[in-house]
Structures are given as C-alpha cells and as structure tokens.
Amino acid sequence: MEKPVVLAVRDLRTEFGPAAHPLVAVDGVSFEVREGEILGLVGESGSGKSITLRSILGIVQPRGRVFGQILWKGRDLAALDETRLRAVRGREIAMIFQEPMSSLNPLLTVGLQIEENLLAHTDLDARARKARAVELLDMVGIPAARSRLGDYPHEFSGGMRQRVMIAIALASNPRLLLADEPTTALDVTIQDQILRLIQSLAEELGMAMILVTHDMAVVAETCDRVAVMYGGRLCETGETAAVIGDARHPYTLGLLRSIPRDVPPRTPLYSIPGAPPALSAMPAGCAFTARCPVAGSDCRDARPPLAALSGGRHVACHRLPEAAAFFSAREAAR
C-alpha cells in the first residue's frame, strides 16, 4: 500500500540574476515525497540539487526567484509570504547542512541552542524543555547527554556536531527533514554512523526526508527512491535498487560506470568526457548533450520530457535504446 504524499514539487524553477537573462539553476523539477520515505537527490556540483532543497524552504541565497508549486499538506509554500513560511520552516520542515560548525552559533551552548528551538516551536515550560533537550541529545547518540548541555559547539567533534544539528532539527518534531550533504565533510566511519542514525530516526519517527548528496553509494545505502539531477533538471527517478541496478539515462549509466565496481584492477574506468555545463551556457535541449556518447542533433535542440517507464520510473532522454546498446556493448567488450 502506498503511503500518502506529504510534499509535492511541481515545475520548480529557480533563477538568479537579471530577469531578462536569468541564470536558471533549477529548471522544471517535479517530484513527490511520501510519508516516511527517504528520497535521494543526487548530482554533482552545479546540478541544482542544493538549490532545489533550499527553494522548498524559501531560503535561496543570494535572492533567487522561485517559480512553480511546492505543495505541503495542500498548501503551496511557493505562494506563502515570509511570515507564514516561517511557521512551516523549522517546525514542520527542518533542515540540516553540510558544515555543522558554521550552522551552529559558536557563542551559545548546545543546550541553549536546542532549547531555543523548543521555545520557538513548542509550548513546553523551562523544565520540560531542558528534559526534552537531554532526551534529544540522547536520541541522536551523544554519550552522557545531560552533562554536555553546557558545552559549546567547538567542544564537539565534527560527527558529534552533526548529531547536535540533527537534535536541533528534530526538536520541533518535523514531518520532513531536508538534509543537504550532511555527511560530506565527515570521515567514512563517521558518515556511516550518521547515515544509519538518520535512517533509523526517520523510521522510528515516521518522518520523510530528502537527502541531497553527490555520492551514489550513499543513496544506495540510505534512500528508498532516488532522483538524479544534471544541469538543474531531473534526468532519472525511481526506486533506488531499480535505478542503480538498471540505470537508463546515459548520465546515470556513465556516472555509475565511472565508479570502480566489479572491474579488474587498474583497467581504464569509463569516464564521462568534459565537465558539467555552466549555468550561463545551458543548451536549449538536453543539458547532457555535450558529454553524452549517444547524443544527436535532436538532443541539442529539443528538451526531452521526463517520461514514465514501468515500475514508477521516469527518465528524460530521447535515445534510451541507443544508450542501452552503447553501454551493453561496452560491457560486452570487457
């Protein structure tokens, strides 16, 4: 049975700069997040994944213009004014960031920062807030939580700071957690701890989550569904196992094959030629045209729609059969 949709994003478009020649960072992105689901939004730098996330909460800097619909419990967040948006932001929808040091106030104790959030979003009294703060720190796996309430952010390690950030985000019992590369700055064993924590919290609290990352393997281990972004557009979405096991878009295919996996050591890896396009030089058609091994002139001129395949998957590509043939021929050549 499918769970109800909590967030639906329709034709999201975020642009910067002069209205006459805008730089379009997010271009016609649509997706849904269901209750208790972890959606992975994956892409490389400049793909628009972080800006998509920030657009949902209306915190796009420097002053981006957001178009389209962001439907949250039947309300369109894109149409709300700042005051009403603030009631949703941090309460129903919380966010955690890549760099936990710069998102915590270095001059306030961790306890105060959690209680501050509780004060803003709950009606607990001072005693109850303190108890809840201890409970939250305990929940995110900080040892001796009570004794650490009075510590300052710099007294925590990177991984512990990220746990504190998660505790602050959870203070308001959000229904949706937006996580922007929460483990990129962390070491692999700490990343593993944080991802497992996020995963189990989402499950226990029935909280939905969007996890932005550049690492396909993080998605494979953590997310129920994945949306692959390139050049500000979605190129492929679907169940994680299906997308990773049987990718269809030439970008997803190339990305997965450029990661060494089941290949003889020291053989050349598949490499996607060139570099991601600049926002100012997006082609009219498919954003991946210039780096695509099977692109034709139609790809350059006409933008492929995100078309439905079987099994709830969507792919935006004019040349699916050619892409499949190209990559299976390469596999066969090995």
Partner: protein, 331 residues
C-alpha cells in the same frame, strides 16, 4: 619482490608542538604535542602504486608531505635508493625533488593564479635545466599533450580551467621534471565524480607509459583499491595493515581495516545495514592512547591491547599490527 625498494621509510615520527597560550604558560601546563606520525615503516617498490588510506587526521597527508620533503620528520629516516633524504638542503634537495614530485589536493590553490600554464611549466623545466632554448617550448607542448589538455591551453590562466583540467596542469607540472616517483595527495577528491575517472585513468596510463612509482594517498577506498598494487591502512599515525590490494580488500585482517571497509558505502542496495560498522570516533592526535591505538574502538580488544603497541607482522597476504591477527574470526 626481490628488487630493492625505491623508498624506505624507517620508524618515521612527526610531532608538531602547538604554541602554548599565555594561560597555559602561567599555569605551567606542558605544551600540547600533536603526534601526526608514530613510527611508520614502509617500503615502496619501483614501478608500483602504493595506496595509502585512512581517515582525516590519521597522518596520511603528513606522511606524503614528509616524503616530498615539505615537512621534516622529528624522528626516523626516509631512504631514497638507499640514501637518507631527511633534511636535505640546496642542490641535493633539488636533485631529490627532481626525482620525487608531489601533486596536491586542491585544484584551486595549487596553481599560481598569476602565471599562465606556459609560465608555470617553463619555470619548472628551466629551473632544473631539463631543456634549453627552443626545446623548452616544444617540451611544454609535449607535456600538455601528455595530460590531454586542449591546444591553446598554454597561454591561459588557471581560473580559465575546470577543476579536472587544473589537476591535469598539476600533473604536467610534476612531470616536467621527469620524476621517478609521484606522490598524489588526494588528487581527485575535490573533483566531481564524473570527472574523477578521467584523472584517474590518465594517472594510471602515464604511470604505465613512463614507468612511474606512485604513492596514491586518498580516503576513497574504491578508487584506492582500483589503482593500487598494494595498500597501507593508517590509523592515528601508524600503519595497521599493509598488503596486496586484492586480498587486503577481500579479506582484511586488522579490525580497523575491516571496520573501514564495512563503513564505506556500497553501491549494492542489497548490502544495506541498519547498524553502523563501528562506534566511536578517532581519538585526538593530541592524546594518542597507549598500547594499540585502536583499542578504544576495537570490538576484539583484550588486556594486552591496552598495554602493548602491536608490531607489524605477517598476517593474511600482507602485514598487520594486531595482537590477535591470527585469532580473529575469518583470519
């Protein structure tokens, strides 16, 4: 291998003394000492790629910088072709660095922003007298061709290139001296995934055609496994396990290597875990625990681990520094 090692690292230690704050001086607290390396033993064979993996703060970059001559170790020795190269000065140091070059992690700060690619390459070529006269210009073209930079790249400035292209310039600059050994410190970790493969392929190809020895320092286990012949796992400034890449990744012996490999995210959604591979965090290098550096996080730690630091000894297909190397399940 019966060959003599190209580089031998003997009991290498590196400590940084932190400046003492006034309050500490008044209270007569001792200076804080960061132990970045604690007795590293390592042989690098000619022509091989030795991968060096570990988490941030484990000392892998410090080791790379010591080998390149950027940091002077506090104890121990580095032998290059049998001769000590610690603390070299002047012409001897120049001669050593002609043979051993380094490539850096950050493509944005490792090139001088005010020099064109041609300036940077010509400087490297002429300072070492690798070519003279018109041959210098020809060599620049050759180098750019070698790292597959587009024609016309020579007269551009670093900011006109993408991250991947800048790393190629860094490689070309190192190759200008026709070195024997390259130290690659996180060469691709600042690059987008889709670009990493380009640079890694280039490195492997250059190594094969030019017969280079490469020290590949990185935290990305998949990449290290792919490019390295042998791999050394570092924890808190000491090698805990070293051995041929295939067996080490397939059957790691040391509990830390096992945890590290298990924690690395896998592309196989069937391998999902609910529990983290290992609890706890890396102890501070300001306060390295006595005994085995890993005993605080180790699920198999016994009494002896708290007292005695284990030495590297044969285990599995390579060497491991663990008191229980033979007794561990699956070893």
């Amino acid at each position: 291998m019966s060959l003599a090692p190209l580089l031998s690292i003997r009991d290498l230690s590196m400590r940084f003394t932190k400046p003492r704050s006034l309050a500490d001086a008044v209270a007569r607290r001792p200076r804080k000492v960061v132990s970045a390396l604690n007795g590293v033993e390592l042989d690098v064979m000619p022509g091989e790629t030795l991968g060096i993996v570990g988490e941030s703060g484990c000392g892998k970059s410090t080791l790379a910088r010591c080998i390149a001559g950027l940091n002077r170790p506090t104890a121990g020795d580095i032998l290059f072709e049998g001769e000590s190269v610690v603390g070299l000065k002047g012409a001897r140091r120049r001669a050593y660095n002609r043979r051993v070059q380094m490539m850096f992690q950050d493509p944005y700060t490792s090139l001088n922003p005010r020099m064109t690619v041609r300036d940077a390459l010509e400087e490297a070529i002429t300072v070492h007298g690798m070519r003279s006269g018109a041959a210098v210009g020809r060599r620049v073209e050759e180098l750019l061709d070698l790292v597959r930079l587009p024609e016309g790249a020579a007269d551009k400035y670093p900011h006109e290139f993408s991250g991947g292209q800048r790393q190629r310039i860094g490689i070309a600059r190192a190759l200008a001296l026709e070195p024997t050994c390259l130290v690659a410190d996180e060469l691709v970790s600042a690059l987008d995934v889709s670009v990493q493969a380009q640079v890694v392929n280039l490195l492997m190809e250059l190594q094969d055609t030019l017969g280079l020895t490469v020290l590949f320092v990185a935290h990305d286990l998949r990449l290290v496994r792919h490019v390295s012949h042998r791999v050394a796992v570092i924890y808190l400034g000491a090698i805990v396990e070293i051995g041929p890449s295939g067996p080490l990744f397939a059957n790691p012996v040391h509990p830390y290597s096992r945890a590290l490999l298990a924690a690395a995210p896998s592309l196989d959604p069937a391998k999902r875990r609910r529990k983290p591979a290992i609890a706890g965090e890396l102890p501070s290098p300001l306060d390295v625990p006595p005994g085995c550096p890993f005993h605080l996080r180790c699920p198999h730690a016994g009494e002896i681990c708290r007292r005695e630091k284990p030495a590297l000894r044969p285990a599995g297909a390579g060497l491991a520094a663990c008191h229980f190397a033979e007794a561990l399940p699956g070893a």
